[in-house]
Symmetry: C2
Subunit: 678 residues, 2 copies
């Protein structure tokens, strides 16, 4: 490429450069050896690549790792965590040597796989393969959206790259394919994927299972392909990265042909060096082969000096950016203010005015998915950074916001995203957007397909990434699409994911409140579980308490007897109307029945004991739960002496009301079940 | 291609051919209209393709739909179910017109999406996109394995193709990418993928999210690419299919450029015709446009005659094959017998001799994953059709069987499969192998990554596909790999999938029994949940009952007091030793404590009441469960008055015994918890 500045062999291949590369290798080797656990092979092979990236390409400031306009690196091959920790330590991030020595130990900052929020400079939690590339696509997408939103002529406030470091395993994972295809479609020109093509995975030669032409595949997605470069050709790698930087419009694939376990006389190029300590003898042989005369964890001063040159130059870059931002602020004070608020993840005052106006606006039956669509329309004007879409089900999920346009390379102002039929990719990309910051992502599909993105929901929850997941068509109530599309295990399955808040609202007002909670929850993801079918309003059915102020408590009494209850009926979502109807019916018969709406068991569990006791008094043991999903988990609330109404089989293809009735979801059945307990 | 016989325009484009094509369209339109629900667009666009496939390419016998050597068709785009039902009805399968008229109604044979086992001629349950292509890869892989196993010179007993019909949505799904990449690597030459490239998905033009070059992508996987053909060019489609048949070595991609909703004046080519009834007016206009003068569900006799020509010719093909098989049987009686036994899914007598010899063979601590490996080595000699592998974790999952070789294009005798790092693809492929029959697939990964293939586990369970899923590294006990790799929700999450049997054995003998149950369970999948870390043998710890005969009951008493128990402690897998240890300790203190091993709650739930009462007497309410996973679900066994010891947070990176101890998994904590209940 004629416009690419190339660097000469002599300019990069200094003695200290190669000793720094060996320092990366041995820090990784020594940490794995001390832990007697970990993955030395990839760091050994990738050390020159990491050196080239951090020292010759990356825009970063180790002293201020949260600088908004830094380049991001996502180590999708999370098992190579020691490569990342070595780089962070050596280049001067706040990761002292004793943390490196505590690799994989209880409460260290260097867990087996990188964890966002735990270690300065770690941008994403990775390890489950393929997702990191998806995260990186999300980072690059967020950057593109923010650049388009905030940059003004002469004021490039947002202008950074995202690098993903991927292994063969990442490339095999479907989630990576999904994300890469979308990155190509959206022409995310600041995404650079570095593919460590070492021809080895755990079971040995990748030839066993992976003979595809990865470059041709990524070209088919719309990537710009850089010619593969040898993993020990330092100038070649630097120049490949520069060539990648020079191509503005397409995402790039830089393939590095590395040797796993490079430097180990007996293990280099084998699967044996992938995932365990090499053993003292082989480490000694490797020291000899690479000419590394230092003790374990000993780093020569000149290596530190060399590697930490970026501390000062990065600080200068960051300072320069802050000065530029001051100029921007004086010229565009409102935009600058919004930029800061958005980046810090704060919510503007009165963000929920639109939502507040909607509460109480519905009397007639309506689907909670439709209400969710109303909520989105009401929130986005005051919270434009709420950005998202669906995995090709926008109309069904009610996620497309009128007037916001569709984001595309031709319409960067578009704020409705189209993920395509790529649920897992959508999940990983949304997590990346959330971790990047400046945007609040939402993403939607049918509840049944939450299984497709479940791995991303889990890693997002572990990472405290505040996505809003919208799952509609939440039960057999969806009807004719049948058992392939009817969730049974999904709802309770999501509740079991730590740090995910699941809310299944029963009517319009509960749905508006659910959205309020989702937006205000910046500590983790929230899943909204919504119906396809219309639901009546609880107030219209005679409920005594109302959503506002109660949904956030997770469960509340919606119908009560004047005396102590003899029986309590608990419902969620579309089945709350049955709990309410049954309680009212039983009351007519003179039975002291209470109905409880439980939109969120997680929120209820987090309430003080006395509140929980007030809703579900310990001594009242006649209890019925009614939820159109698995019964497993409901004994938590009904115990041995209660009864669960649920579904422990697959659903059926027929109109939703018929399936519901045939599987026992009627007021009559709930009444009868409750009566049988008394 | 010079060696391809092409067919002339006049030979295919008869009047009755095109009226048959319209019959396919209107049967689909009318059924969707009557149900007021369904997907008319794809059947309308794909009718000529389906006609070409069934009438000019497919080797099938509608009267004997279970003929072993038939070609298979997997409708990966399961939402186009009416296309398949129309074809099955029109070509003479046992699917009468009244079932078509009952499309999407309670207990009909025509559910919203095709379900295997419910409808003659439906080869796989599809609808969740992408998986059908994976199933098709599994069918083609099973065919290749069986052909190599059973065919002899001059005796081609196994020789059939697998066709997958895929939509844009299928092509976007990662699972399809994973499966296609493996199909290319394994050179599955009898797989023909028909890609309905109609440029429309639910959110509109595929340009919004899907601009990749699909042909180039599949070429990169190693597919042979047939030039795209117009979806209304009948001779072109027939010739494309013939060209595909002519290429022997690579899987094929046949791209058909169809128009969704073809024939509808106002809806053709729009997302609006994808997923709902068109409405009476538009149906009338479509009838006019396509010149279809018949009443709803009226099929002219000559169309039936034309379409059912395959009933007789198919019977002849099937008869011919059976005659060939008789020859084969006389020349290779043992092989022929084995072929029949294998295809019927029967188990040879004494298949479990090897397993029986192993029971009781262990005294020392050993990981259940290692025992599972021993079981595989013991079973496969008598059950060679047990075939499988891992998603690139064979050494960790203990799934590679020595001496069986690695299946590859160069070694078709190899019986260890290498799925690559493609869990979801592995799941869908294994389901396809199980549905094909003749092989019993097993497939393995870490338990945490069961989430990656969860959609396939579910559809397989719904389909009664008897796969054995092997999930090792089943808890925080895996240690240093940390929270990204430590399952919390996965174990209980699998238990919630209907028709999946989950077994988490506590020691060597329970693991051998678990394998016996898994192999004998031919009605659905079984998941084996196994440890990374060593476990002691319950017998060595002083257990009073033993695995043989008990694991199949799901739970059993392993230590008991002489008097009625005051407290019951229930454990599973690696925590059973804690339940046992705690009970013995409490007994020493004079407390009547019982320990229960519960390897499978599904199997326990299916026992008679009196057995369950004998293990967990109703009136004993002081109960403790101990399992290193979510506590949700355990109240089923411990109620309000018991206690659960589990994990409702993420794990931690540190040596496994330290993580276990720090999170409360010690005999002391179990004893203390039990004591607190008394």
């Amino acid at each position: 490429m004629s416009n690419v500045q190339t660097i000469s062999e002599t300019a990069v291949n200094s003695d200290v450069a190669w000793r720094s590369i060996n320092a990366i290798r041995f820090l990784s080797i020594d940490a794995v050896e001390k832990a007697n656990s970990g993955h030395p092979g990839a760091p050994m092979g990738l050390a020159p690549t990491a050196y080239a990236l951090w020292q010759h390409a990356l825009k970063h400031a180790p002293g201020t790792p949260d600088w908004a306009d830094r380049d991001r690196v996502v180590l999708s091959a999370g098992h190579a965590s020691m490569l990342l920790y070595s780089m962070l330590h050596l280049t001067g991030y706040d990761l002292p040597l004793d943390e490196i020595q505590d690799f994989r130990q209880w409460e260290s900052e260097t867990p087996g796989h990188p964890e966002y929020g735990l270690t300065a400079g770690v941008e994403a939690t990775t390890g489950p393969l393929g997702q990191g590339l998806g995260n990186a696509v999300g980072f690059a997408l967020a950057e593109k959206i923010l650049a388009n939103t905030f940059n003004r002529p002469g004021h490039e406030i947002v202008n950074h790259r995202t690098y993903a470091i991927c292994s063969d395993g990442d490339m095999m994972e479907g989630v990576a394919s999904e994300a890469a295809s979308l990155a190509g479609t959206l022409q995310l020109g600041k995404l650079i994927v570095i593919y460590d093509d070492n021809q080895i995975s755990i079971e040995g030669d990748t030839d066993k299972a992976f003979r595809e032409d990865v470059s041709a595949r990524f070209a088919a997605y719309g990537f710009h392909i850089i010619d593969p470069v040898d993993g020990n050709d330092l100038a070649g790698i630097v120049n490949a990265l520069k060539a990648a930087e020079a191509e503005p419009d397409k995402p790039k694939l830089v393939t590095v042909r590395s040797v796993i376990g490079y430097g180990s006389p007996n293990l280099a190029g084998t699967g044996a060096v992938h995932g365990k300590a090499m053993g003292g003898d082989e480490v000694a042989l490797t020291r000899t082969q690479l000419g590394w005369d230092y003790e374990p964890f000993e780093i020569p001063d000149d290596v530190y000096d060399h590697m930490r040159s970026g501390v000062q130059s990065g600080q200068a870059l960051s300072d320069e950016w802050h000065a530029k931002f001051e100029d921007y602020k004086s010229e565009y004070p409102d935009l600058a203010e919004r930029f800061l608020v958005d980046l810090l993840g704060m919510l503007p005052e009165n963000w929920d005015d639109g939502l507040n106006r909607l509460v109480g606006s519905h009397d007639s039956p309506i689907a909670t998915r439709a209400i969710s669509g109303e909520a989105l329309h009401a929130i986005t004007p005051a919270l434009p950074r709420l950005i998202g879409g669906s995995a090709d089900l926008a109309e069904s999920n009610n996620t497309e916001v009128d007037g916001r346009g569709s984001f595309s390379p031709e319409l960067l102002d578009g704020r409705n995203l189209h993920f395509g039929v790529r649920e897992h990719g959508m999940g990983a990309i949304s997590n990346g957007m959330a971790l990047h910051g400046g945007v609040i992502p939402y993403a939607a599909t049918f509840l049944i397909f939450s299984d497709y993105l479940r791995p991303a929901i889990r890693v997002g929850a572990l990472s405290h990434a505040p996505c809003v997941w919208i799952f509609t068509h939440d039960s057999i109530g969806l009807g004719e699409d049948g058992p392939t599309h009817q969730p049974i295990s999904q709802l309770m399955g999501l509740r079991m994911i730590p740090n995910l808040t699941v809310i299944r609202p029963a009517d319009a007002d509960e749905t508006f409140e659910a959205w309020r909670i989702a937006i205000e929850n910046r500590q983790g993801p929230t899943a909204l579980i919504l119906t396809r079918q219309n639901l009546p309003q609880l107030s219209a059915l005679g409920a005594q308490s109302f959503a506002r102020g109660y949904v956030q408590r997770g469960a509340y009494v919606i119908a009560d007897s004047s005396t102590e209850p003899e029986v309590i009926i608990i419902g969620t979502g579309s089945e709350t109307q049955l709990a309410l109807g049954a309680a009212l019916k039983l009351q007519e018969e003179g039975i002291a029945a209470r109905a409880v709406s439980m939109p969120s068991s997680e929120l209820f569990q987090s309430q003080p004991d006395d509140y929980r006791e007030s809703v579900l008094p310990w001594k009242v043991r006649a209890r019925v739960s009614v939820e159109a999903g698995t019964t497993i988990g409901w004994e938590r609330y009904v115990g041995f002496d209660g009864a669960t109404i649920g579904i422990d089989r697959y659903g059926a293809s027929a109109p939703g009301d018929i399936v519901m009735a045939n599987l026992g979801f009627t007021v009559e059945n709930v009444v009868e079940t409750a009566r049988s307990l008394l």
